[in-house]
Each structure stands twice: as C-alpha cells, then as structure tokens.
C-alpha cells in the first residue's frame, strides 16, 4: 500500500450560487493611480509585472489620478458618457422590443459600455475593430444611425444586412466595425490578418480585436496570439473579462490560476490588466497599445476587468446560476455612474444636465424604433426573398439562380 494521498479530481466552482450571498472578497481592488506606466515602446521583457496589476485611473473621490490619467478634455469625457448612455438607452428599449415580440433575439452590454465607447473614440477612422456582440458602444460612439441598427434588429425591408443575420450581429465597415458572427473567437485571428495586411501594404490602419474571457479557452485565441506575436502585427487584442460566459464563471477559462492578461507573457508580448469600468483607464491603456502598434512594436493583449450585469442574451436567465444581487456587489461599480461622477467632480457636469441627456437619448432611441417599426418588425416586413440568394458568391451559380426561380419570388 502506498501512503500517497488519493488523487483529487478538481472542478472549479464560482464563489456564490443563487441563494448564497455574493462574494467578491477574493477580488482585490487596488487603489487607482498606483500602477506604473512604462514607456509604450519598452521591451515586453520589462513589462511582465503589468498583467498582475489592475490599471485604474478614477479613484474613490471620482478624481483622475496617477500616471495612466490620459488627460482627456471635458468634451471627450462628455462624448464618452453620451455614447455609454445611448448604449444603455438603446439596450433597454430593444430588450423590451424583444419582450414585445418585435424581434427574435437581443443582447445587452450593460456594465461594459465603457470599453467599446472609450476604444471607439480613441482609435482612428481608418482602423478596424473586430467586435464581440457586447461592444455595441463602439458603434454608438461613432454615430452609427440608430434606425439602421433597429432595422437590422427587426430584419425588416430596410435591414442593411438584408435579413441574413441574427439581430445585433452587425457589420459596419465605414464605422470600423467588422462583420460579427455568432460563433465565438473566430474573428480574433482576422484582426491579426488585417493588421498584417496593413503592415505589408504600409497603410495606417491598425486592428483591434475583442474576445470574451470564456473564449480565451478556444484554440482561435491562442493561434491569433501566436501569429500576432510572431509577425509583430499592429493589433490590440482585447479580452473583455465580464466574469460570466452564459453560466460558466471565469474560473472555467483558467482565471483561478492566473490572469487573462498574463497569457501575454507566454507569447512574449505586453499584457495589461485594466479596470474595464473606468472609461479613463480603458482610454489610457488603449492609447498606450496604439502608440506601440503604430511604432512597429507589435501587439498588446489587454484584459478589461468588468462585469456582465445583464443576462447573456434574451434567451438567458442569470438568476438560475448566480445570486440575483451579484451585480450590486461588483466592486468596480458602474462605468456610467463613475464617469458621470468624475465629470461632476471636475465641475463639467451636473444632475440636471445628466437627466436631460438621458431624456434626449431616450427620445432619440424611441424615434428610431418608431421609424423602424413603420418599416416593420420581425416577420411583418423583410427584404425581397430573391435577395436570400444574393451574396453567397460574388456571382450566383446555376443552383442559386434555379432555386431563386423555384421559390418564384414568393415569400413563405
């Protein structure tokens, strides 16, 4: 008989389940302003401490502090706040539209609005973002027409994607927003390819790609990082760690053992871990990575530490797997309130203006929804069925021509 202990099979479990009290005690929330800001062109070897820090700019008194403070103008801060509030207003209205049977599916970005908004405003028009479905604030920050967005969500006759794609899986090339798809992680490598193409052609268009923390377990993530590192691609690879992948907590993607930012160390590239609910910190980290990418210093991996306040989608009920009040205990707060409070603290905003802006945005969203409803909600209106056969190839082959004739332009 051996006196070895028996082998133990370990299956990770989140800190709290429904009915238990929310527990973020293990989430160390360091004070803002403490993390060093090395030169953006520094060697990755000298940056190996950063993935284990948490870059934060907004402190408990709503002030911007420390070396990562990007020194944004009040105009820029208000622009960001507006984009985030618009995202929230849009999400609320369209989530309700789903409950009213006007569309089949919706996904909210609640709690994560700072990431897309800050990065969209920081990146340039010619850059390309390879999004996930939870960075809609990228489009809202760039003024993508709300009515086009609602038309897409309703898959109606004016849908810019011609009724072919699930609601919110947008494509908006002119807004630096690459085509989304429903399978996870597959576009992470496209961002790397885009960046390599820019470098090869010597055109000034860097790439920014997103993935969720759950998807870091996919091979796509690691292959993209390998290619990005090997070819020193001018790409910013972002992990939005919102703690939950449907019902799977971040521990199932390996976060009990390390941080997602620290994956960078194995690839020899910088990894930043950033408070994703801090608009200023997101901007600052992006600015650092952009400077590095444009200077031919290659990719940066950024983990945005955040929390998915809403369910995964309209098909999900998070109270089935996490405490109902978990979001309220999230230690990094709400990104919208934090940016608002900062603006108030520096004397550039007040409650009246805030309330007025919310009302204005709500009206804007309502009006876009009404306009789209006039075209038609899901099933009430759609593009001509002949368009179903277009765009499969550059030119349809005989099969598609025959099948289009077979259906005879008749809608089902």
């Amino acid at each position: 008989m051996s006196n070895r202990p028996p082998l133990e099979f370990y299956v990770p479990e989140p800190p709290a389940r429904p009915g238990q009290s929310s527990d973020f005690a293990k989430e160390a929330v360091p004070k803002a302003g403490l993390v060093r800001r090395p030169d953006a062109l520094a060697s990755a070897v000298d940056l190996r401490d950063l993935p284990f820090e948490l870059i934060r700019v907004l402190d408990d008194d709503d002030q911007a502090v420390g070396p990562w403070d990007p020194g944004l103008s009040p105009e820029r801060l208000r622009q960001g706040l507006k984009a985030m509030l618009l995202t929230r207003a849009f999400d609320d209205r369209l989530f309700r539209a789903h409950r009213q049977g006007k569309t089949s599916f919706y996904m909210k970005s609640t709690g994560e609005e700072a990431i897309g908004a800050a990065q969209s405003l920081e990146m340039e028009a010619q850059d390309m973002c390879f999004p996930t479905y939870r960075v809609m604030s990228w489009l809202h920050a760039r003024g993508y027409p709300l009515v086009d967005m609602v038309n897409q969500i309703f898959s109606n006759a004016s849908d810019p994607l011609r009724g072919r794609q699930l609601p919110i899986l947008f494509s908006a090339r002119d807004y630096g927003f690459y085509s989304l798809s429903g399978n996870l992680g597959t576009r992470f490598g496209h961002g790397v390819g885009w960046a390599m193409a820019s470098a090869y052609r010597q055109i000034d268009s860097i790439a920014l790609a997103y993935t969720g923390e759950g998807t870091t377990a996919e091979g796509d993530f690691h292959e993209a990082l390998t290619f990005a590192a090997v070819y020193r691609a001018p790409v910013i690879l972002c992990v939005t760690n919102n703690q939950w992948a449907i019902s799977s907590f971040a521990g199932l993607a390996g976060t009990e053992n390390t941080t997602f930012a620290a994956r960078a160390i194995g690839y020899g590239i910088p990894g930043l871990r950033v408070d994703g609910n801090d608009f200023l910190a997101v901007t600052a980290a992006t600015r650092w990575a952009v400077e590095r990418a444009r200077a031919n210093k290659g990719p940066t991996l950024i983990e945005f530490y955040t929390y998915r306040v809403a369910g995964h989608s309209t098909s999900d009920d998070p109270t089935r797997y996490r405490p109902r009040d978990e979001a309220e205990h999230w230690p990094l707060g709400d990104p919208v309130s934090r940016l608002k409070q900062h603006l108030v603290a520096i004397g550039e905003w007040d409650d009246n203006r805030h309330a007025a802006l919310i009302a204005e945005l709500d009206t804007e969203v309502r009006s876009a929804v009404r306009e789209a409803e006039a075209v038609g909600t899901l099933g009430k209106s759609k593009p001509p069925v002949s368009e179903m056969f277009e765009g499969v190839f550059a030119e349809p082959d005989w099969r598609l021509i025959e099948q289009s004739r077979e259906i005879g332009g008749r809608d089902a």
Partner: protein, 338 residues
C-alpha cells in the same frame, strides 16, 4: 510553351501571380525558404522576397483566419495547407467564416482567398496523408472547390482561383504532381514527359472555374471523374473496350451541369468515379442531379466507383484505391444492361 509537370505548373502559376499582383501573398508551413514539402513554392521567396512568400506557425486555423483577415482588407492570400488531411483544424474558419463573410455582412466584407492543399492517396501516406475531403467542402455553400488533373489546367485553374473574389479550396492531386498516374501502381511510373497537357504556356492564362473538359469523347456511356481519377478512368476505358465519354469536372463547385447533362442525355449511361469513400461522397450528389434531370434518358442505373467506406489503410492502399479494374468492371456492368 514548355513541358512542365504539375508541381512546376503550380509553381509557375504562383510565380506569375506574385509578379503580376502585389496583393498576392503566399504562406503556409514550410512554404518559404524551403519551398514546400512537395516543392510547389520552390524559389518563390528567393525571387519575390521574404514578405511575399513566407513560413507560418503550425496552426492551420490560424493560417486561414489570418488569410481571411488579409482578404477582408483587399489582399489575395494563397495559403497552403500542407496536406488536405490537415485542413480540419481550419474547418471552422472555412465553413463559418470564409464561406459566409460576404453573405452575412451584406456584401461589406469578403474573403478572396485560395487555399491550396495536396489531396489523395497512392503514395503510401496512410490515413493522414491520403484523404480526399472534396465532398465536405462542396457541401458548404459559399466555397468553391477546384481539382485539376493536368499541368495545363493546374496553372490556368489556379490563376483563375486566385483572381476569383470568392474563397476557393484548390485541391492538388499529389499523385499527379510528377506524372499522369493511371492507377497501375505495379507498372513503371509515368512522367508528364510527352503528355500534351504538360505543354504549359508562359505567363498569364486562365482556365475558367465551372467548366468541365471532355477529355475523351464517346458514345456508349458517360464517365465522370476529377483529379487523379481522370487518368485512372481513361486507362479503365481502354482496358474495358467501352466507348465512354470521359468528363473531367475540373471544379465540383461551381459544377458544369450542362456538360454533364448533355453527355448523359446522349449516352443514357453514367459511371461516376472518385477516390474519396463512397457513402456521402460527391458521387451521391452527381447521381441525384442526373436522376433528377435525366431520369427518362437513362438506360441503366448510375454506377459509382469510389474508395471503400474505411479510413485510408496503409497496407491495403491498392485494395482501397478505385483502380482501373474496378472502374472497368463498372463500365462493363452499365453496358450489359439494356
């Protein structure tokens, strides 16, 4: 005009396109300095530079993902997957991304990539260097699948594929690289020397995708084949003494349905040959199309000759391979029934 074998014809197509179009990039495992395990990219890096023809990490999914991202920006990447057997790690990228990008984005993005990959057996490559996955790709709408059978076609089809704005799977019959193998593995190996289709023009020319070739006109039965099996089929026709019309499909997507139907309507008989295993193979689709459109013109049931429904077995390679004897037997069978 020079006489080239198929590898050299492919190399020549790549060379022409690299010189002609700065948006063409070639990359894959071992393709750069070394020139590829089958030598298809030999000399291209030296001639066109490190940045035009380069080596990649061993990550087929990453190779194709990268190619799609480059293609979306406007390049025309020509990635190589070293063996078609290794294309499966990239399957998601090809099926979920390359094939649908244009459709799902409302035409905002597309992936004009050409994925070259050697396929097929007859080289004692065992299960992982011998497979023929063409039917898997033919089933995926949005992908084109091209399979040459001669040096002339290999060059012209490859140039057409690279210039095509859709994603193309370009499968190279590796057993034909050095000669028009007729399935008689026991005989001395034939080279392309003296073969009329080994006469390859210099410079740019195309063979259109979706246009089959009647490689042997005949009246008795139609015989459909592509890739390696074209030459095996031709040998079988001679040995069976049947006046078969042999059609080389050249691309299975797009498929030249007109040429197929015209021939079957004329002969009333059809034998379909492919090296991939039979069940669910592309022969099933061809059979269905022909019976849907030529049922009353058919004199006899359609015959399929294909690899058996086993993995590609090493020691039993020539038992698995649908050689001339099996094809000849099928030709005799379709002619016996009246």
């Amino acid at each position: 005009m020079r006489e080239l074998n198929m590898v050299k014809a492919i190399n020549d197509a790549l060379d022409v396109m690299l010189a002609r179009d700065p948006d063409v990039l070639i990359f894959g495992e071992d393709v750069g300095y070394f020139g590829g395990v089958f030598r298809a990219t030999e000399g291209l890096q030296a001639r066109h530079g490190l940045k035009r023809c380069f080596d990649t990490p061993i990550a087929e999914g990453g190779i194709i993902a990268t190619a799609i991202g480059m293609g979306a920006q406007g390049l025309r990447p020509v990635p190589e997957i070293q063996f078609a057997d290794y294309i499966l790690p990239a399957f998601d990228q090809l099926v979920s991304e390359a094939s649908r990008l244009r459709y799902r984005s409302g035409g905002e993005f597309w992936a004009p990539i050409t994925v070259r990959s050697p396929y097929g057996g007859g080289i004692f490559g065992g299960q992982t260097h011998s497979q023929s996955p063409e039917a898997i790709f033919a089933h995926v709408t949005g992908l084109k699948t091209v399979i040459p059978s001669t040096p002339y076609d290999a060059k012209g089809l490859l140039i057409a594929a690279i210039e095509c704005d859709d994603p193309v799977i370009y499968l190279e019959p590796k057993r034909l690289y050095n000669g028009p193998f007729d399935g008689h593995h026991e005989r001395e190996i034939a080279t392309w020397a003296g073969h009329p289709a080994a006469q390859v023009p210099e410079g740019h020319y195309t063979v259109p995708l979706g246009k089959a070739a009647i490689v042997r006109p005949g009246e008795a039965t139609t015989l459909l084949a592509y890739g390696t099996m074209v030459h095996v089929a031709l040998a079988a026709v001679e040995e069976a003494g049947v006046d078969a019309e042999v059609i080389d499909l050249r691309s299975i997507v797009p498929l030249d349905i007109e040429t197929i139907l015209t021939s079957v309507n004329k002969t009333g008989r059809c034998v379909i040959v492919h090296e991939a295993s039979r069940f669910g193979g592309f022969g099933g689709e061809l059979t269905a199309l022909i019976q849907e459109r030529c049922f009353y013109g058919l004199e006899t049931p359609i015959e399929r000759v294909a690899g058996w429904d086993t993995p590609y077995p090493h020691a039993f390679e020539w038992d698995y391979f649908p050689g001339p004897a099996r094809i000849a037997a099928a030709l005799v069978r379709v002619m016996e029934i009246n």
